[in-house]
Amino acid sequence: MKRTVALLMENQPGALSRVVGLFSQRGYNIESLIVAATEDSSLSRLTMTTTGDQKVIEQITKQLNKLIDVVKVLDLGESDYVERELLLVKFLHESVNKEVIKELNGEIVFENNELLNIQFVGTSKELDQVLKDLESSNPLEIVRTGASGISSNLKTLTI
């Protein structure tokens, strides 16, 4: 089962390596990982997607909470949440049909007479489908950010 876990940690050198290290040390999977500073410059927010049953996810959140640099952990899957990921794809002009891009809600973010860079936003699942649909257009390069998430209720991951 795929799960999205978000956390706030001290914006300090070494903090990220403790979080990432925990995953390899305890044999948990990381499918994707995003980190960025928050509006409070002393904190970074990290979102990761991982796989595991309920017991594994519970252990992951407990072990993360134990790290001294981790301030707060939220298993987003515990309640409703919105997940978004950004996908950028590069095509040669001749291989891609702009109508198809439009149907897939892609947005052209760069274009010259040789190539196009196209942006897609959606859930990770939706983007998987987009990539399938684009297979026949022979993308030159594909890049995904990994999912980010925010709960869709009054529960916030703030301090």
């Binding site: 070494g14 390596s17 072990q63 134990k66 001294i68 640099d69 981790v70 301030v71």
Partner: protein
């Protein structure tokens, strides 16, 4: 009042003094030289020069485990830091409060592969509770404050402070001001258990007909032995202790079942398997206890008290998890039982106590081996422990290394008090015993301290004999010499058709008596059963001397009981011939 201006190195020593530290174990080197000069220039803290950094950390650990106060080690960068790693991992696995201060190359050299540079923070990351890389000299006091707070509270554990050399430069001075308190927003360990969970726990305790209290190192760490004993007495429940928990409940008490697990007693393991309720306190259901978790005590309800939420339901599903300190939670339970005392019914436990007594009668350990002349002619290792127990009247601090001798010590020495049994349970570090004993002896200069070891383990930190000479430590080294890596050999006997692959070295062992003497100590060799007790007596009569008692023991002896891998806790080998399944 104007504040005093001092260097980072002096601030480090002053901060340690502020934390109440009066002894540190260490080994100098380039990156730590400013610190060593500061050590020289102060009077409050004694520095003990070990002979290997592993020894420094184990000694600090032994000091911490026996005294309950944090232990401190100081090492230099690079090889000094890497030599400290085994000690850190040992402290981490057993959750002991140790602070390691490592010198680091100058800040501007970090990342350049400079001389004796190693990424200590990176290397130690998975085996520390937390670590700090100091970035400004002015931060040293607050980092020390935080480090001691983290190491000693919640589930204790080792903390590393890596200090680049330029930050201890005597030329750079700043205002010294030691923080009064500490507040780490992301670290607030629980103390009291949730009152609802306490009530649920009490309900199960009162309903149980076949209960067991299973307690571990957490009870010792949290100084909760008297609460544990009080609760067991109140309820008339039998108690078993883990290898780390020995001494938390009086070893000579009638209700004590002995150690449980891999080499636990028959009655303890049978009780765990057949009970209807387990009250686990400060223990963590690790694989040396549970054997196959899928077959672990299937009919029992489980209450688990632990300070670390991540320990709860990690391996075994728990009916009533309680997060909190052992002491507080046990107190809460005792208080609640006081309210409901009319419901306590000792009579209904009688059949259970009888069942346990019958198990003990059938296959309990034989604690009266000492007077029996061994049939094979060789002294039995168990007899040495019994002789040690007799001679020290059960009052000594016993440290141990890792192997058969460790298990024999755990099985045959009764520990009536906490913090008397000091061994590497989690990591199983050969080489721990002697340096740990140094730490214990420094904490308790007037007490008898014995290190029960094997000829394999003792050679892993043998260099510390020199430290013991320098500081006049009268440790008694009790070497159960079976001329083999006995525990390895036992496994090879049992699982590898007796093929002793690299587990023997009979013809190349040192003369331990001569070795001890060359370090200025006393060595005594014992080969015959009739000499054992008198040698033991002589050993402890030499009050001011380190004595190396080298006892030739039966090399064919195995440790039993032993759980059969992959099965339940009632599936044990009881001797070379007898198994329970």
């Amino acid at each position: 009042m104007s504040k005093e201006q001092i260097s980072g190195a002096d601030a480090l020593m002053r901060s340690l003094h502020e934390e109440g530290v009066d002894i540190v174990f260490g080994y100098p080197g380039g990156a730590a030289l400013h610190i060593y000069d500061a050590i020289f220039n102060q009077q409050h803290i004694e520095h003990i020069l070990v002979r290997h950094e592993q020894g420094a950390v184990h000694a600090a650990d032994g000091y911490a485990r026996s005294s309950g106060k944090p232990g401190v080690a100081i090492v230099t960068s690079g090889p000094g830091a890497t030599n400290a790693i085994t000690g850190l991992a040992t402290a981490f696995m057993d959750s002991t409060p140790v602070v390691v201060i490592s010198g680091q190359v100058k800040s501007n050299l970090i990342g350049t592969d400079s001389f004796q540079e190693t990424d200590m923070i990176g290397i130690s990351r998975p085996i520390v509770k937390h670590s700090f890389l100091v970035q400004r000299a002015e931060d040293i006091p607050s980092i020390i404050k935080k480090a001691f707070h983290i190491a000693t509270t919640g589930r204790p554990g080792p903390v590393v402070i890596d200090v680049p050399k330029d930050l201890t430069d005597p030329e750079y001075k700043f205002d010294f001001d030691y923080p009064k308190g500490v507040d780490i927003r992301s670290y607030k360990p629980a103390k009291e258990g949730h009152s609802g969970q306490i009530k649920r726990a009490v309900k199960l305790l009162l309903e149980a007909k076949k209960p067991v209290i299973y307690s571990g190192g957490g009870v010792i760490q949290d100084n909760a032995s008297s609460e544990l004993t009080k609760l067991a007495t109140l309820l008339d429940f039998p108690v078993t202790n883990t290898l780390m928990g020995l001494g938390a409940y009086p070893g000579t008490d009638q209700k004590f079942l002995g150690m449980l697990g891999m080499h636990g007693t028959y009655e303890a393991n049978m009780a765990m398997h057949n009970c209807d309720l387990i009250l686990a306190v400060g223990a963590r259901f690790d694989d040396r206890i549970t054997n196959n978790p899928d077959k672990f005590s299937l009919s029992a309800k489980k209450i688990h008290i632990d300070i670390d939420p991540a320990s709860l339901s990690k391996i075994i599903d728990i009916d009533v998890p309680v997060v909190g300190s052992a002491k507080e939670c046990l107190d809460q339970i005792i208080e609640e039982l006081g309210v409901q005392s009319h419901k306590i019914d000792h009579d209904k436990l009688k059949p259970w106590h009888e069942e346990i007594s019958a198990w003990k009668e059938a296959h309990g350990l034989n604690h009266k081996l000492l007077d029996q002349k061994p049939t094979g002619g060789k002294i039995l290792p168990q007899q040495v422990i019994q002789s040690l127990y007799k001679e020290t009247k059960g009052e000594a601090f016993i440290t141990s290394d890792v192997g058969q001798h460790q298990m024999f010590a755990a099985q045959y020495y009764f520990f009536d008090k906490p913090r008397r049994w000091i061994n590497s349970g989690g990591l199983g570090t050969m080489g721990f015993g002697l340096p740990a004993a140094m730490g214990v002896q420094f904490a308790f200069p007037e007490s008898d301290v014995a290190c029960v070891t094997g000829e394999g383990s003792i050679q892993m930190c043998i260099q510390e004999l020199s430290t013991c000479l320098q500081y006049g430590l009268p440790i008694k080294i009790i070497n159960l010499n079976n001329a083999a890596l006995g525990m390895v050999k036992q496994w090879q006997d049992m699982n590898y058709g007796g093929r002793h692959s690299s587990s023997t070295y009979e013809d190349s062992l040192p003369d331990f008596v001569a070795l001890a003497e060359s370090y200025g100590h006393v060595g005594i060799k014992v080969k015959k059963h009739e000499d054992l007790e008198s040698a033991m007596k002589e050993c402890f009569a030499l009050k001011d001397k380190l004595v190396f008692l080298d006892v030739d023991v039966d090399p064919n002896e195995h440790v039993y009981p032993m759980l059969e891998a992959g099965m339940s806790m009632e599936d044990m080998h009881l001797s070379k011939e007898i198994k329970t399944w």
